[in-house]
């Protein structure tokens, strides 16, 4: 089945935040009003009731002078999602077309997914004791519609469609941008972390957009998932087995020299 992806082209985004509001509208999420602290950006990162935010990053570029970089930030719907691996209740699964979605009935709010995620996307929703994140509007997509954010975007910065087609488009766009004043333009999400189902066309290197340049799952999480959980636990059954064995052998051997079986005195 073809992968269906969101492509976000930074060079067309005007940070109107229609996407941020459309997401709230479709998912009927309450407003999370935090006081203004000096940046147009509403929140430091996503939260339990805000699945996507637009980041506003001011930069001074040596050649171009002042730059104001906008970035729509939300779950990346990784092809190899770490959140899915760590979830203890198996409430996260991946659709065939590439959305990573949660079954909130099973979520217990343990936060493993938040800390496993290289972007720390899933966030806690206190009133329901669950962690939440962008759903790639899978209920809309499976009815043949586009995600709410892509539907709303007035400039066409956000598009939804077949991944391969969008990748071709993205490559063309990066070529165009490189030739027109953005020598560091790049695609993000094609290869990162084994591939993300959200693609970005960036006009500069990822760090200028507050994105990790080469995102990796944390070493701690890797150690935890790949070594501790699969292997280390076997020590317990081994111990129990040894104890069971001891139970048997010590009585058998004691039978051979019955004088020593008196309780407490050997």
């Amino acid at each position: 089945m073809l992968k269906m992806t969101n492509l976000y082209d930074v060079s067309k985004c005007t940070a109107c935040r229609g996407c941020q509001v459309a997401c709230k509208d479709w998912n009927q999420l309450p407003a999370v009003i935090e006081p203004f602290t000096g940046n147009y950006q509403t929140h430091e990162t996503t939260n339990g009731d805000t699945y996507t935010i637009v980041k506003f990053i001011e930069q001074i570029d040596d050649v171009k002078g002042i730059q104001w970089n906008f970035l729509k930030f939300q779950c990346m719907h990784c092809f190899d999602p770490e959140c899915m691996k760590v979830c203890p209740t198996d409430c996260i699964k991946q659709t065939e077309w590439g959305a990573v979605i949660k079954d909130y009935d099973k979520c217990i709010g343990c936060h493993y997914c938040t800390y496993a995620c290289p972007f720390e996307i899933p966030q806690y929703r206190k009133r329901q004791d669950i962690t939440t994140k962008c759903t790639l509007c899978y209920e809309r997509v499976e009815e043949g519609l586009t995600p709410a954010c892509a539907r709303t975007c007035p400039t066409g910065a956000l598009q939804f469609g077949e991944r391969e087609e969008l990748l071709i488009q993205a490559r063309e766009r990066v070529k165009f941008l490189k030739a027109n004043g953005f020598p560091n333009a790049t695609i993000y999400g094609e290869k990162e972390l084994g591939g993300l189902n959200k693609l970005y066309v960036l006009t500069d290197t990822p760090d200028k957009f507050d994105l990790p340049v080469d995102p990796k799952v944390s070493g701690n999480i890797g150690f935890w998932q790949n070594w501790v959980q699969p292997y280390f636990g076997w020590l317990i059954p081994v111990t129990l087995g040894a104890s069971a064995l001891s139970f048997v052998t010590s009585r058998l051997l004691a039978n051979k020299a019955p004088a020593h079986t008196e309780g407490g005195h050997e």
Partner: protein, 227 residues
């Protein structure tokens, strides 16, 4: 088939553990085991059946936290009210010496029932000293990492990620020790009398003289009288 050695009230017995020690021990046991089983529901994959005992994953999570708080409280009570006892325990551990090393070396044979001769042991033998070093450490690591996992927002993200594997490793090692300890303190012929020490507080004097000679002498024996 003999399980735990019979409690003999009509032979001379000596006190091994006071009420506070026993209360603390069994309090820890219950809460630790509750934490263990509810925690295993999250540690193992496809452990829905285990979670179901506690009313599902959410129920298991709730019981885990209640038990964890219980464990913390008992730990705190033990540390505060039983401060003197803890110090004494600590001092015994610090007496780790050649006799303990000999004990540990010969332990595997003894474990599976082969007769061995070990040097006189203090209040806690070499193995018990080992247990005393490892298990409480694991419990403390579990408690610390547990609270970090429970309230991750107030801790740096990196610390939370360390807490995840720390909790798992501490749990495994702790459970390994506890399994051995539980077996040795009950069904294992020879050391089974120590169950009564922790349950009723006393052990057979002759057992104590044999298994913890140095302790018996210092606490109840002629050596003590001599001083």
């Amino acid at each position: 088939m003999q399980w735990i050695p019979e409690y003999k009230a009509d032979v001379p017995r000596v006190e091994r553990f006071n009420f506070l020690a026993r209360f603390s021990h069994w309090g820890h046991t219950v809460t630790f085991l509750l934490c263990l089983f509810t925690g295993l529901a999250l540690f193992l994959s496809d452990a829905g059946w285990l979670a179901a005992i506690f009313g599902g994953y959410a129920g298991a999570g709730l019981v885990h936290r209640i038990a964890a708080v219980g464990l913390t409280i008992i730990l705190a009570i033990g540390m505060v009210a039983g401060f003197k006892g803890i110090i004494a325990w600590f001092q015994d551990i610090l007496r780790f010496g050649v006799n303990d090393i000999m004990f540990i070396v010969k332990f595997p044979l003894e474990f599976f029932g082969f007769p061995v001769k070990v040097p006189p042991q203090t209040r806690f033998n070499g193995g018990e000293k080992g247990n005393s070093m490892v298990t409480p450490t694991m419990v403390i690591l579990l408690v610390l990492s547990g609270y970090i996992m429970w309230f991750p927002a107030i801790f740096p993200g990196g610390l939370v990620r360390v807490a995840y594997w720390t909790h798992d490793i501490a749990m495994v090692l702790g459970t390994v020790m506890v399994s051995m300890h539980a077996y040795l303190g009950s069904f294992h012929p020879g050391s089974g009398e120590s169950f009564w020490g922790m349950w009723k507080g006393t052990v057979r004097a002759d057992w104590a003289k044999h298994h913890h000679a140095i302790w018996y002498e210092e606490t109840y024996g002629d050596k003590k009288d001599a001083e």
